[in-house]
Amino acid sequence: MGRKLIFGFFAIVLAVSFVFISGQAMAAEKKKAGPTQFFGILIYRTGPFAAGGSGIGSGWEDFMELRNMQGGVNGIKYSWEECETAYNTARGVECYERLKDKMVLVHPLSTGITYALIPRGTKEHKVVVSSGYGRADASDGCVFPWVFTTPTNYWSQNSAKIKFIGKQMGGMDKLKGLKIANLYIDIPYGQETKPMLDALGKKFGFTVRHFPVPWPGIDQKAQWLDIVRRYKADWVINRNWGVSCTVPLKEAARLGFPGNRILGVWWCGSEEDVLPAGPAAKGYYTANWHGVGRNFPLIQEIIDKVYGKMKGHISFTRVGTVYWNRGVYTAVINEEAMRTAHKKFGVKVLTGDEMRWGMENLNITAERIKEIGLEGFMAPIKTSCENHEGGKTVLFQQWDGNKWVKVDEIAPMTDFVWKRIKASAAKYAKEKGITPRDCSKVD
């Protein structure tokens, strides 16, 4: 019995490998139609963070599907391949290595993979875009020429959050004496903003206390008792990720802490995070960098043309959710970089260096945003050799019990943040022995 099973298994393996090899040959033949700009999509449809990965990947693919139907970007069509990372760094690097010959720009979509790809991208001339995650100091283009944090990073976000809290309290002077609890998941991602908040606390005279939540953060009872009963916090900053995002909302409701005094990070601000909390989530604020919902001409077009022809990449109910929209945003940034590069280098399939030039010279004005059909969806972006962040506003949204509603747009404290970005990047450059490039000499 055992032997038969084993031989049966080997027979299956052989058969499958045969199919695999012949399938690859077939696939290779199929792809000969015209030059395309290739994107490797490193996402995770499985694992604990599948909600984020599947939404972003699908939004991005749906946008590219639409452009291909319309004839591509200046005639250059998109092609792409998905690679499942399951949020695992080893798998993510494998994906990058497998697809790197074809792609010129990569979104790692995970902090760990970002760290692993920064040295690789820099060496192999691939643009690494970590939108709103990864290292905040990578916004400094002098030290990180190949890394972009467009449109914004964690440090900018936190300075905007403090401004938002000030506005909600009725003025920045009202911050004095306020008690803010920074509830964070106890991994490097969670810790990244601690010094930033401490510095802001000193500047504006409010107290910050940090409450670590051990990974994976499903139980936060002790922290919440501490926050509400002992510390008596006025505001709570929710810096969690995945399953741990929802827990604070329930705990707050249990202890009678008002939902509209919790302010989440942008990775805790999707439908998937608040729906499980039910009515407890009502009033909850989070940061974001793009609009929500389906009421934008471009998104209507995607619904009409892509989903109308049953070519969508995710179930229709998720179209217009936060993560799906984030995917569309990602795709728009890529495309604008391509168009910018096309203007300088001519319309063709871009190389890594040309794509990098495009990313570095992005100038998405309000008129251009309207032209794309995304008015009110995103803020203007202007990158430069030094500034790889580019965005000037952080959006804030509130959960009204059924949907997210955009409530505010706030500019981060740019000078305050950039001083720290510069210092941190300089330290990195020193450790790694990098000579920062002189941006005044770059055209």
Binding site: G2, L5, I6, F9, V16, S17, V19, F20, G23, Q24, A27, Y44, R45, T46, S54, G57, S58, E82, E84, T89, A90, R91, V93, E94, Y96, E97, R98, T111, G112, Y115, A116, I118, P119, R120, R135, D186, I187, P188, Y189, Q191, E192, K194, P195, P214, W215, H313, I314, S424, K427, Y428, E431, K432, G433
Partner: protein
Amino acid sequence: MFYRECGVLKETYAKDMAIFPIPLDRWGLGVMLVLAFVVIPFTASDYWLSSIMLPFYCFSLAALGLNFLTGYAGQVSIGHAAFMAVGAYSSLILYGRYGVPLPLSIFGGGIFASAAGTIFGIPSLRIKGFYLAVSTLAAQFIIEWVLTHWQWVSGGVFGTIDAPDMYIFGWIIDTPVKKYYLVLCVLTLLTVFGKNLVRGQLGRNWTAIRDMDVAAEIIGVSLFRNKLIAFAVSSFYAGVAGSLITFTYYLAANIEEFNLFLSFHLLGMIIIGGMGTVLGSFFGAGFMTLLPIFINQTLLTIMERVPSDIRANSEAIVFGGLIVFFLIVEPYGMARLWQTIKEKMRLWPFPY
């Protein structure tokens, strides 16, 4: 005959104590070594070298370490990822901040990990089985916590140290082939050492402790010494593996890579590969690291029209199914299959 003892005449003591008494094994090993040292680096693409073979070798080494502890000495550990992390961080600090030569840094990482492992091995003298497993779980959490919070180690707010360029005596190791050779040399060295370790007095002591510790103590095997040595050796291997994978593959020491999940993964490798066998560590590491990629690639081509979320999830389903399948067919692990084949060959063509 080349595939059985019959006709293999052992004329000297050295021949009697050979690692591989059967010629088939010796030749097989020779072929594998030629394959690993000559054929693969010259034929495989950079993709294969850098993203398939490197993690496979590093995880094999870590699994081998865990196998000494769990497979040979019978002490369950679910904190091995943390020992890998200690190795990774300490070797990067030694090399990057203090300029210790690369080979010494890699082994230095192993030594620091081994010190950490020995400390967390002390409870094994009083508690056994599941209870010991829980105390090694504590190692996982404590080490993770320390590495995240000790700013001097993790180098600032990002909790991550980037791996600097690697130089051995002024010679830069940057291409996948060079990295491959670096990892392969360390792996070969440590495997030969480990194989001899488990064949010698120490390995026999461990086996005795695993099979019945009271009996072992009565015949004069010091539990204190041997258990702690098992922890030390095992975490040394884990530390070296951690430092190698960080230097060559992750390129940055980030504590998130060495989480509890990886500890379970390593334990899964030795259970599927074969507890108490050196070969099994390699089989297990191959199974756990390469098979998901293979399944994923296969599904990509045969299921092109299927929605991508179903495709992504079916990888986990197929992989889980295969684990169950292998454990039902061969509960002693894949290394046991090879053992069975060899035993059958001894009797062939006249089995009884």
